[in-house]
Every structure is written in C-alpha cells, then in structure tokens.
C-alpha cells in the first residue's frame, strides 16, 4: 500500500503512562506524516522522553494505540522497535567506547545473523554512511578517541544504518556549533525528501521554526495541540509549553544585593578535570547563573570549590577570609552547600526518610555529648523546613523515593538550608521537575537569596537561567569565557559565549 498525502506514517493516539502513582502521560496524541519533520516540544519533565521511549519499546504504554503505516505495533523492546524501522538518537550517548566506529554503527546487527562477520565490509559500509553525512570520521577509529561532536554523528549514523522509517532525534545539536548544525539540517532535509519521518526534539525554538513542518507541544504529560509551523511563532510555542507567558514563570527579583562579595574564587585550577583559571565572585543576596554547554566544566567547577574534586591551585575567599576546602567535609563546615544535578545518585538518600535526609548535615546542632541526637530538636528542625519549603508529604517519615522529583529536590535543598549555608551551589535545580514545582523552587531560590545567601545556579535551561539570575557567567572549555549583565541576557549571547565566540556588538566595536 502506498501512502497518499493525508495518510500518516505514525499515529500515536490516546497514549497514557504512569510510573507508580505518578502519571507522566495523559491521553497524548502524536501523528507524523511521511517525509515530515515534526517538532516535539515541552519542558523538561513534560513527558517527551517517555513518549519516545514508548514508541521505541523501552517503556510500555498503559493505554492507547500506536500505528505504523496503519498497522498497530507494540514493540516490546528496542530491538523490536528497530526492526520495525523506528530509530532513536538519545540525548545521552549510548556508544560503546572500546569498539570501533563501524562496530558501533552496526552493533545491533553483530551477533544477529552469521557466525563469521565480514569486518572489511562492515567498515566499508560504515565509512560510506559517514561520508554521505558529510562529516569526516574514520570508521575504523575507536569511539573513545572521538570528540563529542563526532560521537553524536556516529550516533546518528547508527540510527540510519537500519531501514529507518521514523527517525527520532532528541536534542541532537546540543554539542554542535553552527556549521555542524547546518550540516545536520542538510542531512535531515535529504532524509525528508526520501520520505523518512523525523521527530525532532529540541529546546532551541529558532531551530524548530527553521526546519520543522509542524509542531506538537507537551505540557505536564498532556498534549496542548499540534499545528503547522507556519501558523505559529516562538512566543506562541512558549505559551503552549508553559501555559502562560514566560515572564510569569519566574518570580520578580527585588532583592537587595550586597556590595561586598560573600564568596570569591581566584584563579582556581583543577588537578584532574578541565577546569582552569576560574575566577568569579558572588554577592550576598545575588543569584549568579553559570551557563555553558555540557562538558564545559560547570559541574566540575562547583565540585572543585566544594572539595569533591582535587584542586591544583587557586584561592577561595569566604566573608573576606581565605579558606581551604580539601573535602566536602571542610566545605560543609564553612557552610558552603552543594545540590548535585544527579539528584538520585548524589543528592538524596532515596531509601531513607525525609527526616533522616535533612538532618544528615546538621547533627552538630541537634546532637549532644557523645553524639546522641536530641530527637525533639531534630523533629522541630525537620518539620519546620518541610513546612517552609512546602514539601508535599503526609509526614516526615515518608521515604524520599516515594516523593515526586520536585519534592525530592526540595529535600536536597533543605539539607543545606538546615545549616544556614552562606553560599549554595545548585546544579540543574529543576531537571525532571514539573512546572508547578519549578515555580516553587524558583521562589525558594529567591527567598534564600533574600536572606543574604550567595546562590550560584548552574543550568542548561536557557529561559530558566535568564529568568532567575542577576548575572550570568558562561563557561567554555573549562574556564569562564564571558559574563553577561541582566540587559545582555539573550539565548544568542549565551550560546555565542558557550561556543567560544565574542558577542555580536563586541565584534562590531572592534
């Protein structure tokens, strides 16, 4: 059967999915035509990834139907999905570092058919495929030796090595500079002409407007509609994404910022990571944003200051006095807080109660001689924070693993508020958090700053970092490449600094 103009290649209708009590997708529809680039948009945690994972066979839907070329499909695992012609390029790279590029590209076919592999043919085919994409990558090289951009290209080649009917790209350009991005787009247009359906997930709305034919927006697990790209613009899409205008999402900042810095970093260089020569200061009451691409050393900078990574040289000055943080133990003693981006692995204790999570940093103030804990004081402190942070829970004894992402994040933050931190580093404060909890976390950050705490927020979420920061530092290749004042906040400026380019007006003045 040949598809006519109005037939859909892919129809996902009435898809619902919950994990435990958390409902992630509610009656979502997504319909993509052959030869169409369809943008799938939504904030972090809106349910995009879950929808894609249902399509590819990672997750299984609770209700709804998925049709490919009119046939109902139910892939039980990613292999079945691939055989059906659904290829996904995930955000987190899934390549095997110790294998060659060619082996990675054809990984899903290795071991599938014959006893003997024709390695020469595989390498040749892979090389041909990579060349056709217009990037220079040696198919016989080890993936370990590739740059992050090259790895992303291999990932795309891998997806195309199958007879792909639906190609899903999840934030493919995050690591690309504009030339690479343009090359990728040329490829996408070529695939489109071949009749492949492309689902394109991105936060870069400018990109979307440029390449997509139509757009579907998800908000809190519900699709807020599909429309041809010609009928909307960035403002319209944002309104669909957050359900209100952007300015309402972020609290007004009318905090008195002190003049003397509460915390200063001078020429900080790491021993084992790319972080080098980092200098900045935070004033009391200030929210300082740190932007940059993944791998630019933002998280590593925070961990270095916090004593979790080893320093080579540099000075830290807290309240005018030089301090040394050889380990997180020292940092915590100096009342420096650090909320990790990896909440589940590094931030909270999932199997322990909220009470035990929060009090873990503050035993000094709630325990007496020989380390015996004054349980009354402990409850008082913990219950006070639960109320203040509006952590939604029936009691302090609920295990943190049973809380939503937003409430878990509040617990991670509460740990540092309980010791009256002077500076708090918060890495990706709202990753995997729904819109409602996001607003609460933004308000919380605001309130913490109001008390004279220096708050340093690391975020990849552009609207977020521009919405909550008083000043933004942009990191590039392990050091601070530029600083933006409030009137300079634009996605373009942040991006230019992120990829190591000067701002436009700077170029003009030179």
């Amino acid at each position: 059967m040949k598809n006519s103009e109005n037939d859909y290649r892919l129809e996902m209708t009435g898809i619902s999915k919950s994990f435990g009590v958390v409902s992630v997708l509610k009656d979502v529809n997504l319909k993509v035509k052959p030869g169409e680039i369809h943008a799938l948009l939504g904030e972090n945690g809106a349910g995009k990834s879950t929808l894609i994972k249902i399509l590819s066979g990672v997750h299984h839907k609770d209700t709804g139907t998925v049709r490919l070329n009119g046939q109902e499909i139910n892939p039980k695992n990613t292999h079945e999905g691939q055989v059906l012609g659904i290829s996904v390029v995930y955000q987190e790279l899934s390549l095997v570092n110790d294998l060659s590029v060619a082996e990675n590209v054809y990984l899903h076919k290795l071991g599938a058919s014959k006893f003997w592999m024709n390695w020469d043919k595989i390498t040749r085919d892979a090389q041909e495929l990579l060349d056709s994409l217009g990037f220079t990558i040696d198919a016989s090289a080890k993936v370990r030796d590739l740059s992050i951009v090259q790895k992303q290209v291999v990932e795309i080649a891998k997806a195309l090595s199958e007879d792909t009917k639906v190609l899903v790209l999840d934030e493919p350009t995050t690591v690309f500079d504009p030339t690479d991005t343009k090359k990728l787009f040329d490829n996408l247009f070529r695939l489109k002409d071949k009749g492949i359906s492309i689902i394109y997930i991105s936060h870069h709305l400018d990109e979307i407007i440029k390449i997509a034919d139509s757009v579907t927006v998800l908000r809190d697990g519900v699709d807020t509609g599909t429309m041809p790209i010609a009928e909307t613009d960035t403002d319209g899409i944002i309104r669909l994404m957050i359900g209100r205008d952007l300015k309402d999402l972020f609290p007004a900042r009318n905090v008195e910022i002190g003049s003397d810095p509460v915390f200063q970093v001078k020429n900080l260089t790491a021993k084992d990571t790319i972080v080098h020569d980092v200098s900045f200061c935070v004033r009391p009451g200030e929210v300082l944003g740190i932007a940059g691409l993944g791998g630019s050393g933002r998280t590593e900078t925070a961990k270095l200051i916090f004593g979790a990574d080893k320093k080579k040289s540099g000075t830290l000055i807290l309240d005018g006095k030089e301090i040394r943080t050889k380990s997180p133990v020292d940092a915590a003693a100096f009342q420096i807080g650090f909320v990790s981006e990896d909440r589940k692995e590094e931030g909270v204790f999932l199997p322990l109660s909220i009470r035990r999570n929060i009090s873990v940093t503050s035993f000094k103030s709630i325990s007496g001689k020989l380390g015996f804990i004054n349980v009354d004081n402990e409850y008082k402190k913990v219950l006070g924070l639960i109320e203040k942070l509006n952590i939604k829970t029936p009691s302090s004894e609920v295990n943190v693993k049973n809380l939503s992402g937003g409430n878990q994040q509040k617990v991670a933050l509460a740990k540092w508020l309980s010791i009256d931190s002077k500076v708090i580093f918060i890495d990706e404060p709202t990753r995997g958090v729904d819109v409602g909890a996001k607003i609460e976390i933004y308000n919380l950050i605001n309130e913490v700053a109001k008390k004279g705490v220096g708050v340093v927020v690391i975020s990849s979420d552009m609207p977020e970092i521009m919405g909550i920061s008083d000043r933004i530092l942009v990191m590039h290749q392990g050091t601070i490449y530029g600083e933006l004042q409030k009137d300079q906040f634009t996605e373009e400026n942040i991006l230019r600094y992120s990829i190591g380019k000067k701002l436009k007006q700077q170029i003009q003045t030179i």
Partner: protein, 322 residues
C-alpha cells in the same frame, strides 16, 4: 503506634502486609511454637539456657557484621579473628591479670579490624577481598601462636572467666546478658546516635554522603575496627566457656553471622537493617540447630534446612520491598 497497628491490620490484605513487614519476628514465633509442639524438652530451662549460650558468640559477631553490612561492606574475617583472639586471650590470661588480658584482647581485636578498615576505607580495596585476606591471615596466625593445639587456662583469672561464662544471673546465662547488652547498645546507637545515622546514610548512598560533608572514610574505617573488637568479645566468651583457646574455633562463623543479618532483613547493599532484627536472625538460626539436635537430626541435613530457611526469609522480604 498502637493505633497505626490497628489500622494496618484492618485494612484489606492488612494481615498479610503485617506478616511480611515483621517477617523475622513471625518466622521466629512460628519456629518457637513448632519446637514446643514437637519436643517435650524444648521449653525446659536447661535447653533454653543451652540455646542462649550457644548463640551468644555468633550473636555478638553478627552485630559487628550488621554495622559493616549497613555501610554496604562485608567482613569475612570475623570467624578467623575469633580463633586468633581466643588463642590470644588464653595466652594473655595465663600471663597477666584478668582485666588487662580482657582489655588487651579487645584492643588487639580492634587493631586487627582496623587493618581491614584501613584497606577498605583508605586504599579503596573491595571489602570482600580485604577481609578475605585478613581471614586467612588470622586463621594462620592462630595456628602459629597456639602451635596447632588448644591453649588451656591455667590461672585464677581463667577460672573466674570460666565460672562467669558458664553461670547464670537471675536465670539468664551471663554470656547471653553480655550479648543482649551489646544488642541494646547497637539499637540505641543506630537509632539515636550520630554514628549509627551516618553509617546508614553511607550505606544507602555513599556519594550523596560524601557530598553532604560526611567523613565517609572515617566511618567506614571504624565499622571494621568495631567489628574486630566485637570479634574479640565473642572470642573471650567462647574461650571462657570451654576453658581454652583453640585455633579451630569460630570455623565459618562469618557465614552464620552474614546469614543471621540477612535473615534479619538487612540489605547486603547497605543502608537497611536493625539490631533487633539481627537478634531475631541469630535466634532463628540457633533455634533451627537446637530443634534439629533435639530431634536427633544429623548435622548435614541441618545445613540443608538452614539454607532453605535463608531462602524463605529473603523471599518474604522481596514481597516487602514491592
């Protein structure tokens, strides 16, 4: 508390949930009832006293094992440490005054445990490997120092210890009292002391602990040292019961201790487990041996039954986590 219990029991499937939650207590009571029905001798004071005496030594090292396992580690050396330290105590008790002999034995136990602790915490060696090495070293040293044969108590101090270990106070064997006191101390430490809280935190998420400013290495070091000190306490008790220290003592006790902790519902990944449940685990294992002995079942079938009970207990716990 009582209200919550009532609520739980009256909710649908509540009784089942209750049984699963308190599965160790449930298995323990079931075994007691079963034993009482099947044997006339079981509920005699002689048998109960004997049972308590038998479990005290393993019980004490099980508490050490529990705190190590709570951090996500394991201590395979404790059985061999019991042998080496029993020999050490027997030698010391013949050389110096009793209090000094006891003190020195415990200090040596603490120091030997510190070796594992140092290797695990500061040299990042896998706990299994570090304590396996210490296990063979300690067993070997036990044989070297005793020249392969038991060292008997020869002094008044030895006689005093032997009396203490074989007598009872208010009907409870003295060594069981020592064991129960250690259990109570562990309960209090785990619930109300910073030390206990922190080792549970470390076991449930080591990286988060480190990034919360907890001295992870220090606590990981300490649990092995304490486990060594508890092995010394157990060694003093078992040596005193028999009036001698032998390098064959404590054979595969580390496995019984791990079994007791696991039957008590602790997670080998760390972060979950309580002293009272470990006590239950110890008593369950002791009860099984006791009743099978009363029934004249030979020791090989006993091992099969023990293994089956471990599987049953852990399967019940799987229910709980679901």
């Amino acid at each position: 508390m009582a209200l919550a219990l009532k609520e739980q029991l009256s909710s649908p499937g509540g009784i089942l949930k209750f049984l699963v939650k308190y599965n160790t207590v449930f298995i323990f009571l079931l075994l007691v009832i079963f034993s009482a029905l099947i044997s006339d001798v079981f509920f005699t004071s002689a048998n109960i006293t004997n049972l308590l005496k038998q479990v005290s030594g393993i019980g004490i090292i099980s508490i050490g094992m529990l705190i190590v396992i709570l951090t996500g580690g394991i201590d395979l050396s404790v059985g061999s440490l019991v042998a080496l330290l029993a020999v050490t105590f027997a030698i010391l008790v013949n050389l110096v005054v009793l209090p000094l002999a006891i003190l020195l034995t415990i200090i040596i136990g603490f120091s030997l445990g510190s070796i594992s602790g140092y290797l695990v915490a500061y040299q990042k060696m896998a706990p299994f490997v570090a304590t396996l090495a210490l296990m063979t070293i300690a067993r070997g040293l036990g044989f070297i120092y005793s020249k392969g044969s038991p060292v008997t108590f020869k002094t008044a101090g030895g006689v005093f210890m032997s009396d203490f270990a074989n007598n009872s106070t208010l009907g409870v064997p003295n060594i069981a009292i020592v064991f129960f006191l250690i259990v109570i101390a562990a309960m209090v430490m785990l619930r109300y002391n910073v030390f206990g809280r922190l080792i549970i935190a470390i076991g449930s998420n080591e990286e988060a602990s480190r990034l919360s400013g907890i001295k992870v290495n220090k606590y990981k070091f300490l649990v092995y040292a304490i486990s060594g000190a508890l092995a010394a306490t157990a060694a003093i008790i078992v040596a005193s019961r028999t009036n001698l220290g032998s390098p064959n003592m404590g054979m595969s006790w580390e496995l019984d201790a791990i079994a007791a902790v696991v039957i008590g519902g602790a997670s080998l990944n760390g972060g979950r487990g309580t002293a009272i449940n470990t006590l239950m685990g110890v008593l369950i294992l002791g009860l099984i041996s006791n009743i099978l002995n009363l029934l004249n079942v030979p020791s090989y079938p006993q091992q099969v039954v023990k293994g089956a009970i471990i599987i049953f207990a852990v399967l019940l716990q799987r229910f709980e986590s679901k």
